[in-house]
C-alpha cells in the first residue's frame, strides 16, 4: 500500500500546525535565561515599549503547579526566581503581530546573579556545583551477571578502551509549535507532537484542569525522532498559559535557531570498556561504565540510561557482565529522547571496542564477532534467554556478501598502496535493538485501543499513536484491513484527539507497529465478536454486519449510548518476566538484529571522510510495508552518518552556539551514497502480522561501522564522534595508532577520550 497521506504531502495540501487557519489570534514568544545558573535578580521591561498592548506571563500565572509533569517533577513551566540552564524559559509575551511580539521579547532583560555552573559531565563536581543531592547523579543503574572481577583476573587477555559521543540535534524539518484556545470552558491545544497523552497529563497537572476541561489534538507532524516526545508538553503549557490569560487563541511556533537552542538533544556520552578474552577471542568478561550528560533537568534521562545499559554489551554471549551507569546533572539545556534512546551511544562504544580488541589481539574483526554473536539458548546481560530462532550469523554473512566485504578489503589494500592522497577502508558493526518499552514498561502503560464500526460499514481505528513521517497511518490501515479482510479504503484512522481516542501510549520506542499494531488486530477481533461473527468472517460479511448493527441501533441525536466498538488492552506475551529491582529478566519482548557495513574514502589532504557505500542488513520480523520499512532504514542510516562524521553541537555555558543550519551540518543528498537495504524475516508471534519494531535500529549501527572503516583505511584509532575532519586531522598528524588527547576546548561539550 502507498503512503496514505502521500499525495497531500507532495502537493503541499497537508496542514501542519503553522498552516492551520486561525482567527483573531496572538503570536506567542518566549523570554529565556541568559545564563547557565543563578538567581534571577531582576526582570526589566524596556520603557519605550507600551506594555499595555502585550500579554505577559510569568511563573505566577501557572494556576496550580509550576511543573512540567514527567518522570521527576523537577522542571518548572517557567523559571521561578532561579535558572538552571541557558535558554530556560522565564517569561512569555504575546501580540497580534509576530514582529511586535518578537521585538517585545527582546525588550525584556532577565538579570541573573551567576552561580558556579557545572558544564563538563565527566569531571566530578565541586561542592559549590552540587545541585542534585548528594553528588549531581540524576540516575544510577547497574546490571550484573556472573562474577566479572574474578573473570577479569583469570582472563588471559584484558583490553580496555574509552569512547565518547557528542550531542546530536534532531533537525526534524518542521520546527516545534502549538496553538491553544478556549472553547467554552474547554482548553484546546493542537500541535506537533509524538505523545498526545503526555501533553494532556502535563496540562492537567500544571493547570489544575480535569480531563473534561482540556483536550489535546495532534497535527500532522513534520518529523520527531524523539525530539517531540517530551518537549511539546512545555510549548503546549506556554501556549495554554498565554491563551488563558489573553482570552484569545495563541500560536507559539519556534523558528529554527530557537528550536535548536531551547529543545532537547541526544545525550553526550562517555563509555569505558574493560574486556576479558581468551587468546582466541572469546568474550569472558565485560565490565562497562556508562556516563551520560543529562543536562539541567531529569526529562527522560533515567529511561535513556536504562536502554543504553541494556544494549551496552552488544549482541554477544558473555557469562560475566557488569554494566554500571550514571546520568550526570549539568547546567546544560536538558538532553532528552532521540531515536535509539541511549543505545546508539553504548553500541558505538561496544562496536568500536570490538575492532579495537581485534586489532590488539591480531584477530579478524569479522571472525571476532562471528565467534561471540549470541546463539539461541544463550542469554543477554540481563539474563534474558534468546530463543527467537533468528540466525544472527546469517545476518552477518548476508551483510558481508552483499557488501563484498572481503573483495573490497583486498581491493583497498591495492588502492591504498597505489594512492598518495586517498585511503579506503571498510568497517562493520553487528548490533541489536529492543522494541517496545523496556522491562515492565509496556505492562505499566497498559495501552488501550479501539476499532469502531461506522454506519457506512467502514471501520475506524481509534488510537493516540501519531504519524510523523514513519508511516503509522498507512501501516495501521494495512493491519486493520488485513485483519478484517477489508479494502484499505474501508479503514479510517481517527485523528489523535484525546477527547476521542483512548490512550494507546506514546509514539516512541519502535513500539507502534509491533505493540500497538497488535492491539489493532485484537480490537478488530473483538469488534467481530461484538457483531456475533466468528473469526473467519471477512470483508463484505463484516461490512454488512456493521451496517446491519447501525440499522438495528439507530443513533439518538449524534451519539450512540453504546457505540459499536471493539477494544483491546495490552497483554504481556506469555513467558516474559522482568525484575525491576535487580534489573534482571526479559528486557524486551523482541529484539531486531542487524549487521551494517560502511565503506569510506578519506582524503588525506583535507581529512574529509566520505561514505562511498553502505549496506544495512537486518532481521525485523515480518516487514509490513517494504517501501516504508526501507525508508526508515535509509533515513536512520543517513542520520547516523551525520552523527558519526559531521553533526557537532558546539556549546558555550551549556547552550548551543551553532544553533542554525548554516553551521550545524546535516547530510545532503550529495554527502551520502545510496543506502543498500536487505531484510531477513523471522516473524515475531506477538507483533502485528509478525512484525518487530525497526524505527530506531538503523541509528545504532552506522557510527561504529564508519569509524571502524576509517580506522581500517588510515590506521588511526579514533575513539570519539563526530569524527569531523578537524578531529581526524589531529589523529592523523599524531601518527597512525598513537592516541593523544585532543586539545581541551572548554566551549565544547565533548573532548577526546583518554
Amino acid at each position: 500500500m502507498q503512503r496514505r497521506e502521500g499525495l497531500a504531502k507532495l502537493t503541499g495540501r497537508e496542514r501542519y500546525v503553522d498552516d492551520l487557519p486561525l482567527e483573531n489570534f496572538l503570536w506567542g514568544m518566549t523570554v529565556r535565561s541568559p545564563a547557565p545558573r543563578g538567581r534571577i535578580a531582576a526582570v526589566r521591561f524596556a520603557r519605550e515599549v507600551d506594555w499595555s498592548q502585550f500579554v505577559v506571563v510569568d511563573h505566577r500565572d501557572v494556576p496550580r503547579s509550576n511543573v512540567v509533569a514527567l518522570i521527576e517533577q523537577d522542571q518548572p513551566v517557567l523559571a521561578a526566581g532561579y535558572v538552571r540552564h541557558m535558554h530556560e524559559p522565564v517569561l512569555l509575551v504575546a501580540h497580534p503581530s509576530r514582529d511586535e511580539a518578537r521585538r517585545a521579547a527582546r525588550a525584556i532583560t532577565v538579570v541573573v546573579e551567576p552561580e558556579p555552573a557545572v558544564l563538563d559531565f565527566r569531571v566530578p563536581p565541586r561542592p559549590d556545583q552540587i545541585q542534585y543531592e548528594p553528588d549531581n547523579v540524576l540516575k544510577r543503574l547497574k546490571i550484573e551477571k556472573g562474577d566479572v572481577e574474578r573473570a577479569l583476573r583469570e582472563a588471559p587477555v584484558v583490553v580496555e578502551g574509552v569512547y565518547e559521543t557528542g550531542a546530536q540535534e534532531h533537525v526534524y524539518l518542521e520546527t516545534q509549535g502549538m496553538i491553544a484556545w478556549l472553547e467554552d470552558d474547554v482548553l484546546v491545544v493542537k500541535g506537533s507532537m509524538q505523545c498526545p497523552y503526555y501533553v494532556l497529563t502535563a496540562l492537567k497537572h500544571a493547570l489544575g484542569r480535569d480531563e473534561s476541561r482540556v483536550r489535546v489534538i495532534q497535527t500532522p507532524t513534520g518529523g520527531g525522532f524523539g525530539g517531540k516526545e517530551e518537549y511539546p508538553s512545555t510549548i503546549a503549557l506556554h501556549a495554554a498559559l498565554l491563551a488563558l490569560k489573553a482570552g484569545r487563541p495563541v500560536k507559539l511556533i519556534y523558528d529554527r535557531p530557537e528550536d535548536m537552542a531551547a529543545t532537547t538533544k541526544r545525550h553526550p556520552s562517555q563509555v569505558r570498556h574493560r574486556t576479558g578474552l581468551s587468546a582466541d577471542g572469546r568474550l569472558l568478561a565485560q565490565d562497562i561504565e556508562v556516563l551520560l550528560d543529562g543536562g539541567a533537568y531529569a526529562t527522560l534521562s533515567p529511561v535513556v540510561l536504562s536502554r543504553g545499559l541494556i544494549h551496552a554489551a552488544g549482541p554477544y554471549s558473555c557469562e560475566n557482565v557488569r554494566i554500571r551507569g550514571r546520568v550526570m546533572f549539568t547546567n546544560a539545556v536538558p538532553f532528552g529522547a532521540f531515536r535509539g534512546f541511549g543505545a546508539p551511544q553504548t553500541l558505538f562504544a561496544c562496536e568500536r571496542h570490538m575492532d579495537v580488541i581485534a586489532r590488539t589481539l591480531g584477530l579478524d574483526p569479522v571472525e571476532l564477532r562471528r565467534r561471540n554473536l549470541i546463539r539461541d539458548g544463550q542469554s543477554t546481560a540481563t539474563g534474558q534467554v534468546i530463543r527467537d530462532g533468528t540466525d544472527r550469523v546469517a545476518v552477518l554473512e548476508r551483510a558481508l556478501a552483499l557488501s563484498g566485504f572481503r573483495e573490497k578489503q583486498r581491493a583497498h589494500a591495492a588502492f591504498n598502496a597505489a594512492e598518495r592522497t586517498r585511503r579506503r577502508g571498510i568497517g562493520l558493526a553487528t548490533f541489536y535493538h529492543g522494541a517496545g518499552f523496556t522491562g515492565g514498561g509496556e505492562a505499566h502503560l497498559s495501552s488501550r485501543l479501539q476499532v469502531a464500526g461506522r454506519a457506512d460499514g467502514r471501520v475506524e481505528v481509534l488510537s493516540a499513536n501519531i504519524e510523523m513521517g514513519q508511516g503509522t497511518l498507512t501501516v495501521f490501515t494495512q493491519i486493520a484491513a488485513e485483519r478484517l479482510g477489508l479494502a484499505t479504503d474501508d479503514v479510517v484512522i481517527g485523528e489523535a484527539d484525546t477527547a476521542r481516542v483512548p490512550n494507546s501510549g506514546p509514539t516512541v520506542a519502535s513500539r507502534t507497529t509491533m505493540v500497538v499494531g497488535r492491539l489493532i488486530e485484537r480490537a478488530a477481533d473483538d469488534l467481530r465478536r461484538r457483531l456475533g461473527l466468528d473469526e473467519r468472517a471477512r470483508g463484505a460479511v463484516v461490512k454488512e454486519a456493521i451496517r446491519r448493527w447501525h440499522r438495528e441501533h439507530p443513533a439518538v441525536g449524534a451519539q450512540h449510548a453504546a457505540p459499536l466498538l471493539g477494544e483491546a488492552v495490552y497483554e504481556r506475551p506469555p513467558g516474559i518476566s522482568w525484575d525491576e529491582e535487580r534489573y534482571r529478566g526479559d528486557a524486551y519482548g523482541a529484539f531486531a538484529w542487524a549487521a551494517y557495513v560502511a565503506e569510506v574514502e578519506v582524503d588525506l589532504r583535507t581529512s574529509v571522510t566520505r561514505v562511498i557505500d553502505f549496506v544495512a542488513v537486518q532481521e525485523v520480523g515480518k516487514v509490513v510495508n517494504e517501501t516504508l520499512a526501507r525508508g526508515q532504514i535509509q533515513g536512520g542510516v543517513v542520520q547516523g552518518i551525520g552523527w558519526a562524521l559531521m553533526e557537532e553541537c558546539k556549546f558555550k555555558d551549556g547552550g548551543m552556539i551553532n544553533n542554525q543550519l548554516t553551521n550545524y551540518l546535516i547530510p545532503t543528498a550529495d554527502d551520502v551514497p545510496p543506502i543498500r537495504v536487505a531484510f531477513l524475516e523471522n516473524p515475531y508471534p506477538h507483533g502485528a502480522q509478525g512484525a518487530k519494531g525497526l524505527g530506531e535500529l538503523p541509528i545504532d549501527g552506522p557510527a561504529p561501522a564508519i569509524v571502524n572503516a576509517v580506522a581500517a583505511a588510515t590506521g588511526a584509532d579514533p575513539r570519539m564522534i563526530p569524527l569531523t575532519p578537524e578531529r581526524l586531522m589531529e589523529l592523523l598528524n599524531e601518527g597512525a595508532g598513537v592516541r593523544q588527547p585532543a586539545p581541551v576546548n572548554a566551549e565544547c561539550g565533548v573532548r577526546n577520550a583518554e
Binding site: T11, E14, Y16, L173, G222, T662, I666, T668
Partner: protein, 151 residues
C-alpha cells in the same frame, strides 16, 4: 506595517497584495495569501523547504524580500499538477512531508532541465534541499522515475 502594495503573477494569476516593506516572500505567500504549501525549515536559505519558482528559476523564498517580486512571476507547489507527482508517491520520496514541497519543486525543475544531468548528478542538483527522513534514496529514485530512467 503593511505600507506597500504590489502586483505580480502568482501561479499564473495576476495578484495584488499589501505588504510590510521588510516582509519575506515566504511569509507573504503563507500568511497573506494562504498558500501554506511552501514551508519554512530554517529561515536562512540552507534547507530549501521554501523553494518556489521566481520567473521560472527555483529560489529560497525565505531569502527573497517580497517587494522584489513586483511585476514578476512566482509559482508555488500549489501550481504543480498532482498527476505529475505519482512517481514520488510510489518510491518513498516523502515521509514527514515538511521538506517535501521544496523537494518536489526542485525535483520537477531538474526533470524539466535534463540537460543539467550532463554535467551534474541528481544528488548534486538536490543538495540544496535537506531531508531528515528518507536518506534521499526515495527522492533520487523518484526523479529517475520521472525522467523515465530505470531506478
Amino acid at each position: 506595517m503593511k505600507t506597500l502594495t504590489l502586483s505580480f503573477t502568482l501561479n499564473g494569476v495576476p495578484t495584488s497584495v499589501a505588504i510590510d516593506p521588510a516582509e519575506r516572500l515566504l511569509d507573504t505567500l503563507r500568511y497573506s495569501l494562504g498558500l501554506t504549501g511552501t514551508k519554512e525549515g530554517c529561515g536562512e536559505g540552507e534547507c530549501g523547504a521554501c523553494t518556489v519558482y521566481l520567473d521560472g528559476l527555483p529560489v529560497n523564498s525565505c531569502l527573497v524580500p517580497t517587494y522584489q517580486v513586483r511585476g514578476r512571476s512566482v509559482e508555488t507547489v500549489e501550481a504543480l499538477d498532482p498527476r505529475a507527482l505519482t512517481p514520488f508517491e510510489g518510491a518513498g520520496a516523502t515521509q514527514c512531508g515538511a521538506c517535501t514541497p521544496g523537494v518536489v519543486m526542485t525535483a520537477m525543475w531538474v526533470s524539466a532541465h535534463r540537460e543539467l544531468l550532463g554535467t551534474h548528478t541528481i544528488r548534486e542538483l538536490m543538495a540544496g534541499n535537506l531531508c531528515r527522513c528518507t536518506g534521499y534514496d526515495g527522492i533520487a529514485d523518484s526523479i529517475r522515475a520521472v525522467l523515465g530512467e530505470r531506478a
